[in-house]
């Protein structure tokens, strides 16, 4: 029987790989991918807890993260295209208009 903690550790590791991805990659595409990674990590956690706590709600919530992930990707990519059209670049470091 696989203990719950191993699942939690797994999702934590994946989550943080996602975070590192977000922080260190320069192109927005990969940043969005890393965010997908983080969302998947969260789903793993949900399902793991749902299984070990014998309650279905965990799995139901996965659906909601799913929808959010989908919406997020749609809007993210739309933004990416709009930025690409205006700035001709997808490199995050050049998008610092908000600098003080």
């Amino acid at each position: 029987m696989i203990p719950l903690s191993s699942y939690v550790i797994l999702s934590a590791v994946i989550f943080f790989i996602g975070v590192i991805g977000v922080v260190i990659r320069r192109t927005i595409i990969v940043v969005l991918l890393s965010i997908e990674l983080m969302l998947n990590a969260v789903n793993i956690n949900f399902v793991a807890f749902s299984h070990y706590l014998e309650s279905i709600t965990g799995q139901v919530f996965v659906f909601f993260t799913l929808t959010v992930a989908a919406a997020e990707v749609a809007v993210g990519l739309a933004l990416l295209i709009a930025i690409y059209r205006n700035r001709k670049t997808v490199n995050v470091e050049e998008l610092d208009v908000m600098k003080w």
């Binding site: 706590l53 799995q59 990707v73």
Partner: protein, 175 residues
């Protein structure tokens, strides 16, 4: 037996995650992510969430990654030389330590959480999809509707963002 499968799936997921983040070519990142989705689906099966595994593959792998590929092809991005921040080791170090600390924290804390009233056997009997559907449409009806709303907003947003110059500068040539 189960132990081995879990370890296999877990290691592949981690490796793919690392590859998604570190590879130079965006297409290779997407492919790595694809393999990871499959193995996450495997994990779901391991956790008796078959319906979710299927949904995972259809939605994530099928829809979202395809979307990524579309965009990749649309903008024909090539890999650049420096795809990482200059001081990326410094960031990895910090976040790694954060992760390690959190993982350690997870170990310590017990999870005395209240158990629900639907043990694995009952789900097996009723069927995973049916039980999800049952709870989804009773307890979580409102969130469900809101989720649909989120999707609607996302769609409109995506359209408006990308189709903007058509409406705005009708006569101008394509920027």
């Amino acid at each position: 037996m189960m132990q081995a499968i879990f370890i296999y799936l877990a290691t592949v997921c981690v490796v793919c995650a690392v590859l998604t983040v570190s590879l130079r070519q965006p297409v290779y990142n997407v492919m790595a992510l694809l393999t990871m989705f499959f193995h996450v689906a495997g994990l779901y099966v391991l956790l008796n969430a078959e319906f979710l595994a299927v949904v995972q593959i259809i939605v994530y792998a099928g829809a979202i990654l395809v979307l990524y590929l579309f965009v990749l092809m649309l903008l024909n991005l090539r890999s650049e030389s420096r795809h990482l921040h200059r001081q990326w080791p410094f960031a990895v170090l910090i976040l790694g330590s954060v992760a390690a600390m959190l993982v350690g924290a997870m170990q310590a804390g017990g999870f005395g959480l209240p158990t629900g009233e639907a043990p694995a056997q009952v789900i097996q009997a009723v069927g995973n999809t049916e039980s999800i559907g049952l709870t989804l449409y009773t307890d979580y009806l409102l969130p469900f509707e809101l989720a649909s709303l989120v999707l609607l907003v996302a769609m409109i947003g995506a359209i408006v963002l990308t189709k903007k110059e058509l409406i705005q500068d009708h006569g101008e040539e394509q920027s």
